[in-house]
Symmetry: C2
C-alpha cells in the first residue's frame, strides 16, 4: 500500500485501488495522460522485464510530449518500450486492444475551461469512452475516474457519469463513488469494477 | 488485504480500512457490537498475546450475549480476556478510556424500526457518540460508520451524519463517504480520520 495510513485525498485512495488490482504483466490504459504522472505510476505497477503494456492517450500533443519526457526520465529504458503513446480522443481506443483484456483504465477528467457547448461535447465524449472502456475491461478489472466537482462544468460532468453508472447492472458491475466531505473543492473518485 | 480483488460491498472496503489501520496492540472500540461479527474481526486485528484491547458496546443485552457467544467460539481464550463487553448506550464511552488513545471506532447503524420520535432520539444519540469518539481517537486513527440509507429512517440518519461531517475542519479530519451507485438498498461507508 502506498501512504499506508493517510486517507487524505482521492489520490491516496486511487493509488490503493491501482496497487491492489494491477500485477506485473497486465495491460492498462491511461485514457487522459496529461502530464504523465499517472502513466508513470501505472507503468511501475504493470511493467516488468518484457511483460505488460501501458497505453497513454491524450488529445493534446503537448500532453503526449510532456508525458514522454517524464517517462524517459523516470522509467528504465526496457520498460519504456512497453509504453505506447496515442495522440487522439479517448472516444475510441486502439483497434488492436482486445475486448476483456485490460486490467485497469484510468481517467483524470481535469479542468475544463469554456462554456456549455464545450461541456456537452466533452461529457458525451467521456460517456462514449466509458462505454468503450467497459468492453475492453477484463473480469475483475477496474475503471478509475477522477472527477472535479469543485467547478460547475466538472460538477455537471460528474452528475452525468453518476447517472450513467447508477443504471449499470449490479450483477455485472461494482460501482463505488468516493467523496471527500469537508473539502468542497476536492476531486471525487469513481471506481467501476467488472465482476468476475 | 481481505478479498484482494472484489470491490462489491461496503464490508469489503470497511475491512480494507480496518486491516490497514489496526496493528497488534491497538485499542479499538466496536460501538454497536450487534451479533459480534465486527467485534471478532476487530479482535483478530488488534489482539496478540497480552497486548491490545477491544471494547464491545451495545445497548441491548441480547446483543452482548450473542457477541460473547460468538467470540467464545472463535477467539482463543487468552485473547478473549482482552475483549471488554459494555452493555449501555454508546453516547458515553467507559470513563477510563483515555483521550487520543484509540486506533479505530466502528459503528454499524443497522436498521431502525419505528417512527420519527425514535429516529430523532437515535440520530441525536449517534451524533453525541461521534463527538465523544472524536476525542478518544488517536492521531491517524479512524471512525468507520456503516449507514443504511436504503430505508427512510436510515437515509435521514445518514444525512445528519454527512451534514455534521461536512463541518469538520479539513486541517484536523479526513472525511470520505463511499456510496455504491447501482445498488440502491446498499449500505454506505463513512470514514473519518484524525489527521496526524
Amino acid at each position: 500500500m502506498i501512504n499506508t495510513s493517510s486517507f487524505k485525498s482521492h489520490l491516496d485512495l486511487a493509488h490503493r485501488y491501482w496497487q491492489e488490482v494491477i500485477t506485473f504483466g497486465d495491460t492498462v490504459i491511461d485514457a487522459t495522460c496529461g502530464n504523465g504522472y499517472d502513466t508513470l505510476t501505472l507503468s511501475k505497477l504493470a511493467l516488468k522485464n518484457d511483460s505488460g503494456k501501458v497505453y497513454a492517450i491524450d488529445i493534446q500533443s503537448c500532453a503526449i510530449a510532456k508525458s514522454k519526457d517524464l517517462l524517459i526520465n523516470w522509467l528504465p529504458k526496457e520498460l519504456l518500450q512497453k509504453v505506447f503513446f496515442v495522440e487522439g480522443s479517448h472516444e475510441t481506443f486502439p483497434n488492436h486492444i482486445q475486448e476483456n483484456s485490460v486490467k485497469l483504465i484510468a481517467y483524470n477528467l481535469g479542468y475544463l475551461p469554456g462554456g456549455d457547448k464545450a461541456l456537452t461535447t466533452r461529457t458525451a465524449s467521456t460517456l462514449n469512452s466509458l462505454a468503450a472502456a467497459q468492453k475492453l475491461l477484463m473480469a475483475g478489472g477496474i475503471i478509475s475516474i477522477t472527477c472535479y466537482p469543485g467547478h460547475p462544468e466538472g460538477l455537471a460532468e460528474e452528475s452525468a457519469l453518476l447517472q450513467y453508472t447508477e443504471q449499470l447492472s449490479s450483477h455485472l458491475w461494482n460501482c463505488c463513488h468516493h467523496r471527500w466531505l469537508n473539502r468542497l473543492k476536492s476531486p471525487s473518485l469513481l471506481i467501476i469494477q467488472k465482476q468476475k
